[in-house]
Amino acid sequence: MSLDVAKIKLDFPILERKVHDKRLVYLDSASSSEKPTAVLDAMDHLYRTSYANVHRGVYTIADESTQAYEAARAKVARFIKARQTEEIVFVRNATEAINLVAYTWGRTNLHEGDVVVLSEMEHHANIVPWLMLAEERGIVLRWIPLTADFRLDLTSIGELLRGAKLLAITAMSNVLGTINDIGPLARAAHAAGALVLVDASQAAPHLSIDVQDWDADFVAITAHKMLGPSGIGALWARRELLEAMPPFLGGGEMIRDVRKDGFTTNDVPWKFEAGTPAIAEAIGFGAAVEYLEALGMDDVRSHEVELTRYTLDALDDRLGEKITIYGPRDVAVRGGAISFLFEGIHAHDISQVLDEDAVCVRAGHHCAKPLMRVLGVPATTRASFYVYNDQADADALVEALAKAEKFFAP
């Protein structure tokens, strides 16, 4: 594999943790990733040497805080290849990023009967904000269906997009692992007159992404899935859109002037960052993308392709008859999230038994209930990989599953 995982593991202090006296095998990065020392140190360093509120103080440490905060914005912009640093709005998470679009652009531009096109593999974060608008003002949702091999079924994409105002779609499914080819979809949407929102929560951690290449209008990312801290994410949007959008939250920092009878807004992106921002978290986010850049996103991806192939093969070999995998088998079009059903054993029980061997996997609907209904399953078990996982972790998964089978055997 192209990453030196043994070395990478040393950067993640939590991997020294023992659970039930076993080494931690963390296979839930699609839910949230662990954090390297570089990220923890960046935040700690701020708090121990330069912490002050940003954008307002004249004194030295306030200036240092502000510069570090704005430098983090520039790092995130570079990571997703935004043309301008000011196109990055810091938010709490991808969910807030999408809601920000729904509240500001959405409530300005979407009216009764207007169409938003989603896919059946969306996460609740990219469904509920649109359902709220459907309830509130009668917008109409259309759903891109799935093929038998868990990819987007684009047979009727022309009809689906006809007259639509927005295509809101994930770049990678957190359940199926499926990678969607955004560029052509976005161009089709634009041709139909729709804007394009990309939920890159799963894509940004694992693929080299380029918001320009995608031809996207809005992109949501979330730091905690890409080695960054909790409490921070980003919305990228084309500057003209950000400038045209009304503000979202009102308060300090987002204003230019406030009088008793009105206010004027600040420049973008600050117009959308009301109140004291998540300062240390933004700086941690900056350190996370730097760490990923140092690994190289192409190597991150090829590592994941190899590890996913290895694991799919191992699951097949050892437990093929017991396990049904929900997601493409072609590793070229999927990420490292592997969802499956284990015959006769509920996902919850699988996860519980795996925990005995310190193997951490998720069980449930993965915040994608409409997809679960399409798949016809109530819950799946999901193992997912990241830069600190290796074949030994995949082996631990397979071994623990074999033990679970024995445990529950009648």
């Binding site: 039930h20 054993i345 509920h346 996902a347 919850h348 029980d349 519980q352 038994v353 005995e356 069980a363 449930g364 609907h365 679960m372 109530p378 819950a379 445990f407 529950f408 009648p410």
Partner: protein, 160 residues
């Protein structure tokens, strides 16, 4: 550190593999109620036939993890033939069994009140579920059936 054997006692796995009283009943005379755990998708379907003050028949359905399904099965066996009052006492006792640990954690109670609920109630097989309290995330699995029972009893007591 609690082990798997605390959670998955043999009797639990037995109820999971061979659930008692599985099936459906015509409504009416049966009353049907449904419980749902949104976090994991577990479902309990419960048919109760109450005559006078007695639960004369019970059937269960639904799907979910071993704990929720075993708890449902055990519950069905425990309430069948009981009076409504006894059934409600069982609910309290079972919830007490489940929450002693929780409330101690939060330092809100020393568990004495909860112990009182348990005194004098024969839980039988259900005691096997006590191991669940060492796995706080699974408590909801165990209580789902009982919340559904409570809901069912409330509904049959208020003739609709």
């Amino acid at each position: 550190m609690p082990g798997l054997e605390d959670l998955y006692r043999e009797i639990i796995l037995d109820h999971y593999r061979s659930p008692r009283n599985r099936g459906e009943l015509p409504t009416p005379p049966a009353h049907k109620s449904e419980g749902f755990n949104p976090l994991c998708g577990d479902e309990v379907v419960l048919y109760l036939v109450v005559e006078g003050d007695k639960v004369v028949d019970v059937k269960i359905g639904g799907q979910g993890c071993s704990i929720s399904q075993a708890s449902t099965s055990m519950m069905s066996a425990a309430v069948k033939g009981k009076t409504l009052a006894e059934a409600r006492q069982l609910i309290s006792a079972f919830k007490a069994l489940m929450s002693i640990h929780e409330s101690k954690l939060e330092g809100e109670s020393d568990g004495a009140d909860l112990q009182a609920e348990l005194d004098g109630v024969a839980l039988g097989d259900l005691e096997a579920l006590q191991g669940v309290v060492k796995f706080p995330v699974r408590i909801k699995c165990a209580t789902l059936a009982w919340n559904t029972l409570q809901q069912g009893l409330d509904e049959v007591s208020v003739p609709s």
